[in-house]
């Protein structure tokens, strides 16, 4: 079953309104489970480790938003695009990230690490070391010429060269060169500061 089909089935038989009605009475349970599983996959793929304890809650929030929107579509809004599923997962996860940031503004890093379930994280020393290198990378990125900084920033975010080329409207070869040269600049800059990535 594709996302659209799942959403179509989740929007209720015969365009029945879903607002204010118990979900289990309106949606086919297997459709909801498929939705939940897809949202779970989307959230798992993107959820930072430090939010892993909240993953199920995030999935639940996203699911409710999808069902709510699917219900609204069933009331005459037309079918939801399948991309809505990912967008709902994104929004729920981003909301939780921001909430998490606000909550811990007053909590020192040491306390926060100590409060976190140990098995969910790397060791505190490893985390500090990685974060330190990360900050050095950010500072080094400021020194790169703009096109290389753009290319390397995206590459560090996990984008492949073809994706970078598409996003920035560059020919593939140019994106490839900028990533390659930008990484060399970054490496050199870090090494000057005594950091070997």
């Amino acid at each position: 079953m594709g996302d659209s089909e799942v959403l179509a089935s989740a929007s209720g038989a015969g365009g029945e309104s879903v607002r204010g009605t118990p979900l289990q009475m309106t949606y086919p349970p297997d459709g909801i489970e498929i939705l939940r599983e897809r949202l779970r996959e989307a959230v798992a793929a993107a959820c930072p480790a430090w939010l892993s304890a909240a993953r199920d809650d995030i999935v639940q929030v996203a699911l409710l938003r999808v069902l709510d929107a699917a219900g609204a579509a069933g009331e005459g809004g037309g079918p939801l695009p399948s991309s809505y599923l990912r967008k709902a997962a994104y929004s729920a996860l981003v909301d939780e990230i921001r909430r998490h940031r606000r909550r811990r503004e007053s909590v020192p890093l040491e306390d926060e690490i100590a409060q976190t379930v140990p098995s969910e994280r790397a060791g505190p020393e490893q985390e500090r070391a990685a974060a330190e290198i990360g900050r050095a990378i950010r500072e080094a990125l400021r020194t790169l010429v703009r096109p290389r900084a753009l290319a390397v920033t995206l590459h560090l975010q996990g984008h492949s060269v073809p994706e970078i080329a598409r996003l920035l409207g560059w020919p593939g070869k140019r994106a490839e060169n900028l990533v390659y040269r930008g990484l060399a600049d970054l490496r050199e800059c870090l090494e000057r500061r005594g950091i070997k990535p």
Binding site: S52, I137, Q157, V161
Partner: protein, 230 residues
Amino acid sequence: MSDERDGAERELELARMRAAFSASNERAEGSGGCPEPDRIWQAVAGELPRAESAELILHTAACGACAEIWRVGHRMAPALEAPPAQARWRANRTLHRLAIVAAAATVLFGVVSVIQFRNPVRSPEEQSRERAAGETAPIYSLTPEDTPLPRAACLLRWSSAGEGTIYEIRVSTETLQVISSAKHLTAPEYLVPKSELAGLPPRARILWQVESLLADGSRATSPTMISRVE
């Protein structure tokens, strides 16, 4: 072999830099003037004018809070997934390209005799550029990168490359020692046997790569993916 080793180390170095860049996001606070998450979503999906996207990208270079949101968007946004036709085009590129990608995969896992394509001699720089080009199938990990996996249930999962695809997987340590491999997998997942994780220290990272044999007979190799075991 030393050239190949250099190339593999470059790939590991990139993986470490990506992990460090991401790690510095956690405690980051907004730097002021942060864009709304919806705009980041649009930028990641390629829906914003390029000049505006470029400004957002530079903002994420300095602002860890927004970089984290961008990373989330990138892992979820559909527009960046290669359409099937393009995936096939990529998988069917010239023999030369496939040989390079296959060589890179072989290098990474220290295997020397698997490739059935001709493997032209390439400098480490050229190999690194090929890897940087990301000329691989649009397979991505569905296993959280940093959440340690229980050794008794070390399940590696990845995105499906379509019906009828057969997968091969190789799992190695950070020092490129292959600890587990499997062929003829019909589902996009692999449970690493507990016994094969026995030699790893606590919280060790494992690197894994998937090669897919698509239904049309073409092959494609995933990027290197990273997971952690308890």
